[in-house]
Amino acid sequence: MRREAVVTGIGVVAPGAVGTTAFWDMLTAGRTATRAVTLFDPAGFRSRIAAEVDFDPAAHGLDAEQVARMDRYVQFTAVALAEALADSGTPLEGFSPWRLGVSMGTAVGGTTLLEKEYVTMSRSGADWVVDPSSASPHLYRALTPSMLSGEVAELVGARGPVQTVSTGCTSGLDAVGYAAQAIEDDLADVVVTGAAESPISPIAMACFDAIKATSDSNDDPEHASRPFDRHRNGFVMGEGAAVLVLEEASAAKRRGADIRCRVAGFANHGNAFHMTGLRREGTEMARAITTALDRARRSAEDVDYVNAHGSGTVQNDRHETDAVKRALGAHARRVPMSSIKSMVGHSLGAIGSIELAACVLAMDTGVVPPTANLTTPDPECDLDHVPLTAREQRNDVVLSVGSGFGGFQSAVVLDRGV
């Protein structure tokens, strides 16, 4: 019998909302969490806005030792993990730890902490040969973000396959896709998956400034993230984490779990074209969508909702619109396709998992979240992008799409099973 992976729990730490209830309230209300950067002084930067998480780790149950040891993105993860485990009710006690896996995604990992340490060790960039005597003993854990999965594994007692996926901005989709594969291929029975990022730091903001990928609507931050809108001018940096508990379907049924959906199909492709540029036609993204649907044994017409990559850069929005038309054919014009990045920004490696959490909630509640700030549609983005207001409809098959630097195009299909 074919093994399948199902989602039994989710947890979210997002800009404007810690916890899935607050997160979904915010998205369905069309509220935006983009604002002026407060995490550092952005004077002198081109883009000085971001979607930040108001986060007090102690208030969310992390102790002083955890706060000291864990980088901000790992703290987000710990909080999202606690929510996801409670939501799932997975009885991890008595479960073989060797059958429990972890697959977490992040694009830039501990960059924020690395930068902070660098500034001290180099005397604010004055010394090329930095002074290692002032280095934190935990610095390796910032350099190499495999510790993200390690911390999750430790919190849940996992001893099975534990991996960190880092495919840039598609990490959050790929990590979940890999997690489902690990269950399908009988490497694990439960996999804790998701993604996290806390990239709002000078070096990460500056590197996107340099290529003008981020919005410079500094005077109007709450309306700065405008996917598919004619007046968009780049993405707004975000941060956050989402965790999903995946279980093998038949075991989940046996324990009477509340099965939220199946991770039905996943595919990713390189565009083999350019690290940041996209060919308008979107052939590779279309191929990823088609392959993911095939693996789910679904046809284009089955798709009820498309959660867009929708980053709010001109090339991304048009590329994606064309890719979805190519993959879904005439159905592309009938299916709603919205971008929650309009509200929570683009949290690089984390956003794919945050978007999958939103997809699960869209299936749970029968609501499609809107694309905020979409007041003047780009005529070339002429699909149903669900402007401004959420819409009630039944969602049985949901597609989430991601696109990232490196040319990576990913697609995940969630459904209620066949």
Partner: protein, 405 residues
């Protein structure tokens, strides 16, 4: 579950130089490739030695437009990937979607990153260049390998320290099973070219403070004081067995089984059980009994507890004994490149039917049949590669000679 994945191409960039041939020659000779880190004054780092890729001018091997936008780790990956692809004879232009890429890295483009972050903090945010966003992140190598070679298949990046390559072989098997024909799978790392990257490693207290290249990295001995860091890359072209056979490819090795475990937060399988489980599962998946394993490529960290754990693991796995080697003592541990270079060494060992020695370890320690001083013409047919990561991950791979698979 036996894997139907084979290796049909191999490429390396190592402290022995460019290419698989140079790498294997150095391994068989047990050559010392460890030397003082030449790029900056290491006084104050308490780490002075490293395994550097000698005389590597990227412009000799890679088009300028790729050189300007890449860190050294990606350049190593590009060169090793090109060799592996050429070696395999796979023509990626026939169906670009048939071939994917999965190049692991633990440190990313940290040397490139230090230059840009220095510009930011000493001169201002507008001095950060346009390539920082694509050179520093961990996915840079997979992306550039995909672009330069026209690969539109499944692309991935894993960050699991040293075991990255072994995990990537497992992940690629899952990908090939779902329809992709072949993948360039590897690990690439350049962690010792910049002071900041070395500084990130010294706090972990796993690197050797030694100054004598012949005694600084001597695992399984009383003189073990850690390991020597290194740079380099190894890339394998892994292919679905049926696809490889159909096109008449030369099969260099069969990837018979792989398994990953987590040993707890802390360096190198702190619980001491994770590596054992990974090895047992990998052998089970490969359908291989302990008696059938001819050689173990050890993790060989060079720290007393981790070494003792590994010896205990090997003795429990092979109560009747097994030949063990760790050729990396000649050139150091290259993080994500380490597992990759070990896999390459194992493939070459099966192919040449010789077990390369463990340089600088002069005598086999009690209870371990370590191949020392000279290569052993043991005609190995099945190899087990072991790896542990600084983040707690463990991985094991079973490789077989194609004639005995």
């Amino acid at each position: 579950m036996t894997m139907d994945t084979v290796i049909t191409g191999l490429g390396t960039v190592s402290p022995a130089g460019l290419g698989v041939e140079a790498y294997w020659e150095a391994l068989v000779e047990g050559r010392t490739l460890i030397a003082p880190i030449p790029d900056f004054d290491t006084e104050g780092f308490h780490v002075h030695l490293g395994g550097k890729v000698p005389g590597f001018d990227p412009y000799d091997h890679i088009e300028g437009r790729f050189v300007v936008q890449t860190d050294a780790f990606t350049r190593f990956a590009l060169v090793a990937a090109e060799e592996a692809l050429r070696d395999s004879g796979v023509d990626t232009s026939v169906d670009p979607y048939a071939t994917g890429a999965l190049i692991c890295s633990g440190a990313g483009g940290v040397e490139f990153g230090q230059r840009e972050i220095e510009a930011l903090w000493s001169e201002g945010p507008d001095r950060v260049g346009p390539y920082q966003s694509i050179a520093w992140f961990y996915a840079a190598s997979t992306g550039q390998v995909s672009i330069r070679n026209g690969l539109k298949g499944m692309c991935g990046v894993l960050v699991t320290d040293e075991p990255g390559m072994l995990d990537a072989l497992g992940q690629s098997a899952r990908t090939l099973r779902r329809g992709t024909s072949s993948m360039l799978v590897g690990g690439a790392e350049a962690p010792i070219g910049s002071p900041f990257s070395l500084a990130c490693q010294v706090g972990s207290e796993v690197l050797s403070p030694g100054v004598d290249p012949t005694t600084a990295y001597v695992p399984f001995t009383e003189g073990a004081t850690g390991h020597v860091p290194a740079e380099g890359a190894a890339v394998a072209l892994v292919e679905r067995a049926d696809v490889a056979r159909e096109r008449g490819a030369r099969i260099r090795a069969v990837v018979a089984g792989q398994a990953s475990t987590f040993g707890g937060v802390g360096v190198f399988d702190p619980g001491g059980e994770g590596l054992l489980w990974a090895a047992r599962q990998a052998m089970e998946r490969a359908g291989v009994s302990p008696e059938e394993v001819d050689v173990v490529f050890a993790d060989a960290v060079g720290l007393p507890k981790a070494d003792a754990d590994e010896v205990a693991t090997i003795r429990r796995l092979f109560p009747k004994g097994v030949a063990v080697t760790a050729p990396k003592t000649g050139f150091g541990r290259a993080y994500a490149g380490a597992g990759a270079l070990d896999v390459a060494a194992a493939v070459l060992s099966l192919e040449h039917r010789i077990i390369p020695p463990t340089p600088h370890v002069l005598d086999a320690p009690f209870g371990l049949d370590l191949v020392v001083r000279v290569p052993r013409p043991a005609r190995p047919r099945t190899a087990l590669v072991l790896s542990r990561g600084m983040g707690g991950a463990n991985s094991a791979v079973v490789l077989k000679h194609p004639e005995h698979a």
